[in-house]
Amino acid sequence: MTASDASLRRFLHGLPGVDQVGCEARAAGLGTRSIKTTAKAQALDLAIRMVDLTTLEGMDTPGKVRALASKAMRPDPADPTCPAAAAVCVYPDMVATAKDALGDSGVHVAAVATAFPSGRAALDIKLADTRDAVEAGADEIDMVIDRGAFLTGRYLQVFEEIVAVREACARPDGTAAHLKVIFETGELQTYDNVRRASWLAMMAGGDFIKTSTGKVQPAATLPVTLVMLEAVRDFRAQTGRMVGVKPAGGIRTAKDAIKYLVMVNEVVGQDWLDPDWFRFGASTLLNDLLMQRTKMTTGRYSGPDYFTLD
């Protein structure tokens, strides 16, 4: 199956199609679930634990990253019961700073590698980028696929690149950084392509599949995430291996986050309702989650001034 572009194409194009309208209607339907009281409180805490708190700017500095790290460890300094985020997500050159700041807090460091966000670099540069991040202590690598290759049908190239990056994630001690594969679904255009990319990445050994870099619109959407969830569900059914899903970019409100959790719950079930298997790539989302959480505990609506801006 993975011997050539042709055999990969035969497989990927043999996957069941996705009807756009039906897929979006299903996602919208799940979005109408009404999550209240105890369920909402539970969902908010879970969502906080799933946040990959992200800063991916040209103007990032060690100071900014350290601030972000402390926010990730203690999102609400006023409330010790508030859980920590899952990870901070930074460029490779910030990994060491982040690792240092996070210590043994349990919050992971994720690094975007492979000539993020465009992925337009030679393979050895992408691999070097990856190795640098891993050596600097990254727990997780968020790579981008070569969308140009994918869209022109060079599936084997995309596949082999993922395999190579995965090998570059290996540490000397035999362990490896977790590999998240970013599709940039906004560039893939169709849900059929998203499903094909999902299978390609899973077959190549990705630990997570991730929607977007956050640099291209549209980024994560509910229907794109639905297609990816269906893919990991079907992949597990067929191979027994579980793959995680990470929508990233554009998820800003607690209400949105809860819609995603409802979708995870109803499409793939509770096995994926865990930071090991579902993440949100986001920055401003965390504060809205915290505000809603405070509203749940105090009964009052809160305001942005009561939450840290990092």
């Binding site: 039906g22 679930r33 209240k36 105890t38 969902a43 059914a237 067929q238 793939v268 509770q270 309702l273």
Partner: protein, 492 residues
């Protein structure tokens, strides 16, 4: 190819808390009279109770219109037609219909809650489907009222018929009312409408809306009651038009009743739609379409996709996926915003579904993968409930493949070729609707041509729109509702 586990495990980690819609917004009177000539009047007959099928709580006591009451209503409608409505310009009529559409939108939440209380359907369906679509129907036909000369090809000066006697079912009480009243009024007719015995309340609320809109008295009359009231209305000699939605059995009776008269008739009757899934279908959407097709509105849908025809090569996979999806359906309190499947409308209907399901169990047996299956679900103790149910190993000869069950019960059959699928799909006296799921464009069109049904949903199911004509072939009735075609039944 893809093998999936039988059912998803339940999710205690993230169980949804109850999210009930408040019923404080509705004000149900302890008793209702009839709405005749713009006023609520006491009927001359007896009365009957309407209950909430989810709890068996009595909601109200409603007048049962006698022959004399029906006669009074028809007379009021006749007067209103000859003195006011039939003479009014289309432009003026339009404005009343627009008013009604707006009031329905403004009172949407109240109407939705009332519909759910009286009918048992999930609030999300009355809120997102019934009420907005009803408003849309009035809005659509309002715009036709002053454009009728373009409505019927070859008839540049169409006239209204006069008085329309309309009898509607309990599955979409307000929506069916809108399907009937909006085109009738737009065309310049006046109406006497009988809502179903078990779901009269939104029609009575609609009567209030007519008052609120200052609709001239007698243009809309609502007579509540059971079969006898409907029969009196249909048989009334001064009714010019009969429109009925309901069972084929009653439709037959109406067709006999009007034989030899000049009454124009529209009948929208039963169905046993095939929902046909090919091996190249977009499988996840197809599964959604199967679920929507049979479990939407508890399967109380004349065009429900009650026969799943699935290509043998993917039958097992599709069934596994379907069962897994069914396990996530939330059955229970219709007022809970997260409920997917509500209560069966009446004890009588529940008895019929239960009986046919029992018959189905005997028919299909348990060998070779055949059998009856429902996901585990806790049904409330009070009220009328039936779990989402699927029968596998069904053949065309079985009663559950032929008779309309009108409940959340799906019969699964298989086919090998497109020709066989068409033969099986058409092998029924009904012809209301059909579904086709395949990604091959030319096959969709071929199937759409071959299927003898009034509505064909390709890669979708159970979609309705005011602009889209709806109605059946064969014993599913005649005439169309919706769209330009829907006006033809109300004009001469």
């Amino acid at each position: 190819m893809v093998k999936v586990p039988e059912t998803a495990a339940s999710a205690p980690l993230f169980d949804y808390a109850p999210a009930p819609e408040s019923r404080a917004i509705v004000d149900i009177r302890s008793s209702y009279g009839l709405f005749v000539d713009g006023e609520f009047v006491d009927g001359q007959g007896s009365s009957f109770k309407t209950v909430n099928p989810a709890t068996e709580e009595v909601l109200s006591e409603v007048a049962e219109a006698s022959d004399a009451d029906v006669d009074a209503a028809v007379k009021a409608a006749r007067r209103a037609h000859s003195r006011v409505w039939g003479r009014m310009s289309g432009r003026e009529r339009a404005k009343y219909l627009y008013r009604i559409a707006r009031i329905i939108q403004e009172r949407a939440r109240e109407i939705a809650v009332l519909e759910t209380l009286d009918n048992g359907k999930p609030i999300k369906e009355s809120r997102d489907v019934d009420v907005p679509t009803a408003a849309a129907h009035f809005f659509y036909y309002a715009g036709w009222a002053d454009k009728l000369e373009y409505a019927v090809p070859g008839n540049g000066a169409p006239q209204s018929l006069g008085v329309a006697g309309q009898v509607i079912p309990w599955n979409f009480p307000l929506l069916m009312l809108a399907w009937k009243i909006a085109p009738a009024l737009a065309a310049g007719n006046t109406v006497v409408l009988k809502p179903a015995e078990t779901t009269p309340l939104t029609a009575l609320l609609f009567a209030e809306i007519c008052q609120q809109a200052d609709l001239p008295p007698g243009v809309v009359n609502i007579v509540t009651g059971a079969g006898a009231t409907g029969q009196a209305l249909v048989a009334h000699p001064d009714v010019d038009k009969v429109a009925f939605t309901g069972s084929t059995e009653v439709g037959r009776r109406i067709a006999r009743t009007v034989a030899g008269t000049d009454k124009k008739v529209t009948l929208e009757l039963g169905g046993k739609a095939a929902n046909i899934v090919f091996e190249d279908a977009p499988v996840d959407q197809a599964v959604e379409g199967i679920v929507t097709g049979i479990f939407f509105n508890q399967g109380h849908v004349c065009c429900a996709g009650s026969r799943l025809l699935v290509q043998e090569s993917v039958a097992e996979e599709v069934l596994d996926r379907l069962k897994r999806r069914m396990a996530t359906l939330r059955v229970g309190d219709p007022l809970d915003k997260n409920t997917d499947v509500g209560a069966i409308n009446s004890a009588e209907q529940l008895a019929r579904i239960t009986e046919l399901a029992r018959v189905g169990e005997d028919e299909v047996g348990t060998t070779g993968g055949a059998g009856r299956w429902s996901p585990p679900c806790d049904l409330p103790e009070r009220g009328f409930w039936f779990p989402p149910t699927v029968f596998t190993g069904v053949s065309q000869a079985h009663r559950i493949a032929r008779e309309e069950i009108f409940g959340p019960v799906l019969s699964v059959l298989t086919f090998r070729t497109a020709t066989e699928a068409v033969e099986k799909a058409n092998n029924t006296p009904f012809g209301l609707s059909a579904g086709v799921w395949t990604e091959k464009g030319s096959r969709i069109l071929w199937m759409a041509n071959q299927l003898r049904a009034g509505v064909v949903w390709a890669n979708t199911f159970n979609k309705f729109d005011p602009t889209s004509p709806f109605g059946g072939y064969k014993e599913s009735g005649y005439g169309r509702e919706g769209g330009r075609h829907g006006l033809e039944g109300y004009l001469k």
